[in-house]
Amino acid sequence: MTEFFQSLGMTYEWAWGVATVAGVLLIALPLMLAVAMIIYVDRKVWAAINLRRGPNVVGPFGLLQSFADGLKVFLQETIIPSAANKGIFILAPIVTFTVALAAWAVIPFDAGVVLADINVGLLYILAISSLSVYGVVMSGWASNSKYPFFSAMRAAAQMISYEVSIGFILVCVVLYAGSFNLTEIVNSQRGHGFGIVNGYYFNLLLFPIWVVFFISCLAETQRVPFDLTEAESELVAGYQTEYSSMSFALFWLGEYANILLMCSLNTLLFFGGWLPPIDWAPLYFVPGIIWFLLKTFFFFFMFSWVMATVPRYRYDQLMRLGWKVFLPMSLLFVVAISGWLMITRYGGAA
């Protein structure tokens, strides 16, 4: 995009600056719209599985429900508890929201359609997603109230636990792709399954790892069945208890932006990103971004599906699953996959 602005007669620095700002807006604004719509979809899917109607009053089929909710929280009064640590209390939702948006900088939506095509894209996502725990921990501590504090403790322990196995799973994918760059990871998936199927899921070594990754994503984004941080039967609303108005809405938006990010990671790492599901020429006439969005929304549907059908875990079960099941399993697969690749791809040479 820099070249386009340069052709309008700007110097390189100015063109780069304008192009970056335009790119950020082009990602952030549709993302916010998508978040508003998936909140609606989430509620509709949940309602449909429970044989309810779900939101159906505001706009046709209730499509505008999220916008009505947004307007409502925007008009509410922001309440800051007098015993709260004011600065951090205000900072916490901002951190959550900013971090949730920042990770999208390296997500490729189509071949070459990416804001920052950096070498260490996957590590960047890991780094940013490890930051998202701070919003929760800061809000829990700054609220100066029991339930948010318990929630913050739980969130910190939970996110660190599951990040370990997510890290090992990403290592497996990186070993296969031979790069940390997300564009190259997607390109290496072309025709991976017998030259027909695009995507790593069609691989006996990587499919189990994808299942672990999907479950870890649920835990990382604190979705049901791992939403111990906002378990309403024990902790009121968890770390959001003391928040109101826009500060509450920022948590909400950040949470769903993170969920979408995890869905798109599932797509990019295991299901061939913007490539069509089958490596067949006519399918490439459909724009890549359509495939990308279709896959991402499919994974979001799976997230909602899980939410509507699975009961919440107990906390000790959550920790056991993370440390005693997923961690050894993902480690085993790192060893198995690197061994397999050493024999098949690098001819057994050490």
């Binding site: 070498n119 930051l131 403790m153 910190a156």
Partner: protein, 207 residues
């Protein structure tokens, strides 16, 4: 131009937040300032082209170490008066450490000025690796020239991990390990778990 602005931005923020780490009264604020310092240091590393190290700094220090710091500090019940009471007593030691650090900095910068060791080479003689991404360059160096140091680091971490597990995983008297046995829980069935009793009036139940 952009690089210069970014450098001064990150550098000033690192120093300012490092000062705030020791200046702020509240330990939780200190940890949060420390996180900001780490984050800006990562920004500086990106500027010199060491993006791999920068990302590792954020993942390891900000994502794991600082979270545990914050975790512990948040749960502390801090008596601020007691914290400041030892100031005079600890002052000479603090000054001594500060002097040692200053001397090391002066020595380091002096050595650098006198003709530094070229980075990226084990002996300072070979040409630095050019044209590969720094993930590959680092990997090639770590797994060839520094393999024994690398393995030794892994061993140290393994020992530390085993130590932590041994310290926390205590076996109490009997075979009760202080935690649940999931397999045992799953093996239970209603016939063993519940007993049907029909006590008559005035008669207790023997369990």
């Amino acid at each position: 131009m952009i690089q210069t602005i970014a450098f001064y931005l990150f550098a000033v923020l690192v120093i300012a937040s490092a000062v705030m780490v020791i200046m702020s009264r509240n330990p939780v604020h200190s940890v949060l300032w420390l996180i900001l310092a780490f984050f800006n240091a990562a920004g500086l590393m990106v500027l010199v082209g060491a993006e791999f190290i920068a990302m590792l700094l954020v993942i390891v220090y900000v994502g794991a170490v600082a979270v545990l710091f914050l975790f512990v500090v948040m749960m502390l019940d801090i008596d601020f008066a007691e914290l400041r009471a030892g100031f005079i007593k600890n002052f000479p030691l603090g000054i001594a450490i500060a002097l040692v650090l200053l001397a090391e900095l002066v020595l380091g910068i002096g050595a650098y000025r006198a003709g530094a060791i070229a980075l990226g080479t084990p002996d300072g003689m070979a040409a630095p690796i050019v044209g590969v991404s720094n993930t590959e360059a680092l990997g090639a160096l770590l797994y060839s020239d520094y393999i024994f140091l690398f393995e030794a680091t892994g061993l140290v971490l393994l020992v530390a991990m085993i130590g932590a597990i041994v310290l926390t995983h205590r076996k109490t008297a009997g075979d009760h390990r202080g935690q649940q046995d999931i397999a045992k829980q799953n093996r239970r069935n209603p016939n063993e778990a519940t007993v049907m009793k029909r006590p008559t009036v005035g008669e207790g139940v023997e369990l």
